[in-house]
Symmetry: C2
Subunit: 254 residues, 2 copies
């Protein structure tokens, strides 16, 4: 071990460190008028009210009665603020699980919980992920997912892979659902109308000889009405959990 005591290796951006530890109050100078927490809260309020596009540094600052540049004393760049917004918005997992809950029930509860968090705050899905950010709540969700897998006999390296697979699915399906609700249905009087309009567009564009299988789906009326979003989510979730179950059974066999 030749690394020095400070471990500057493993330093995160100051604001993310602050989200974990709570920064100690500065020893000198005027008392801070703002708080990282309050800034993040204000930014979330803006996003919830007017969408993510409305979240600009100046708007958030105005909302707090501060100047734009004041925020940069707490956050090095807007990206950090967005990262912290995501962390605060998803919150901690519900965690009310019976101790004898099976892995499948546990992961299912986990997935539905995350799905609902996204559904409550669709703007979270509009924030592009740049890297796996180790923020407190993100890590808490990971821990909770791993916990459900504790008695499966999976290898340690398989557990985070499963959780990652699932979290990716939840994010994806939630995004799709939000897209449909937002940009899609807005243009039509009803969800069913929007879907059948989409269906007709596809029918018009696709040559039956080049797209026979798509045409079969369309002509079966699959896209003619909007079914309940929960059904779509449940479908994919069941497929994935079925797949995990195969692996769990395989590992249990030894």
């Amino acid at each position: 071990m030749t690394s020095n005591g400070d471990e500057p290796d493993s330093r995160l951006p100051a604001s993310i460190e602050a989200a974990w530890g709570g920064r100690e109050a500065p020893r000198r100078g005027p008392r801070p008028a703002l708080t990282l927490e309050r800034i993040v809260k204000a930014a979330i309020a803006v996003a919830a009210a007017d969408g993510l596009a409305a979240v600009s540094m100046s708007r958030v600052a105005r909302e707090m009665g501060a100047s734009t540049m004041a925020l940069y004393r707490y956050v090095a760049a807007k990206d950090e603020l967005l990262t912290l917004m995501v962390d605060a918005a998803i919150g901690a997992p519900a965690g009310a699980s019976e101790p004898d809950e099976g892995w499948r029930d546990g992961l299912s509860r986990w997935a539905w919980g995350l799905h609902e968090a996204y559904r409550r705050q669709p703007w979270v899905l509009r924030i592009p992920i740049t890297a796996p950010p180790p923020t407190p709540n993100q890590v808490a969700w990971l821990e909770d997912g791993l916990r459900s897998l504790r008695n499966t006999g999976l290898a340690e390296h398989e557990k985070p892979s499963v959780v990652l697979l699932l979290s990716g699915y939840v994010r994806n399906d939630s995004t799709l659902e939000a897209d449909l609700a937002e940009g899609f249905m807005a243009a039509a009087p009803s969800p069913d109308d929007a879907m059948s309009r989409y269906s007709r567009t596809l029918l018009r564009l696709t040559d039956p000889e080049r797209f026979p299988h798509l045409r079969a789906v369309l002509e079966a009326g699959v896209f003619d009405h909007a079914d309940h979003p929960d059904d779509e989510f449940r479908f994919g979730l069941d497929r994935i959990l079925d797949g995990v179950a195969v692996l769990v059974r395989e590992r249990a066999r030894r």
Copy 2:
């Protein structure tokens, strides 16, 4: 049927329509100096060379020796250009499949093909999806995925759900892989170094009593080295296909 002959209902943005049909040459006025195709190609070249952030309307125009505003004769907004860039970048699926290919081999080939397309052009993953855009190649990939499911006995409405599930997974895993390669490894001398640094950061931040299962994973050294990205992709893909297989068997049983 009370809809008028024009079917303005199902009209897409003009540039997307053009991508399908090829616009007919204008009857009057000066000969167009640009082409939608050439614009998209130039934009892709910029993205490939300097990343998606470098793709601005002025940069693309400069690259073609045209003025910024000239592009707006072919594209109503930057979003449309981005949509067309994605479509052109993913291209058409390879399609060289033997007629007796099983559904699982077919979907596997499909997923790996899409994965490789993303890997070749990681900037595609940085473009936020706003809605399922019916562009020619996107639809071609959908058709190809549905084709693999033609003999599974799945219900028509289940087939697109499976393809959607899979395409979401591919996109997600590819994004993760790109993130790791881009923002993560850049800061470290080697991939292994970056991973072990990340692992140490997590160890420092997480209290063993609050995050026991994560600690177990970390202490097993799972995050200490970067394994081949293909392995991670294969793992998730196998889980999903296993899950689909369960459904296919169930449907075949009747």
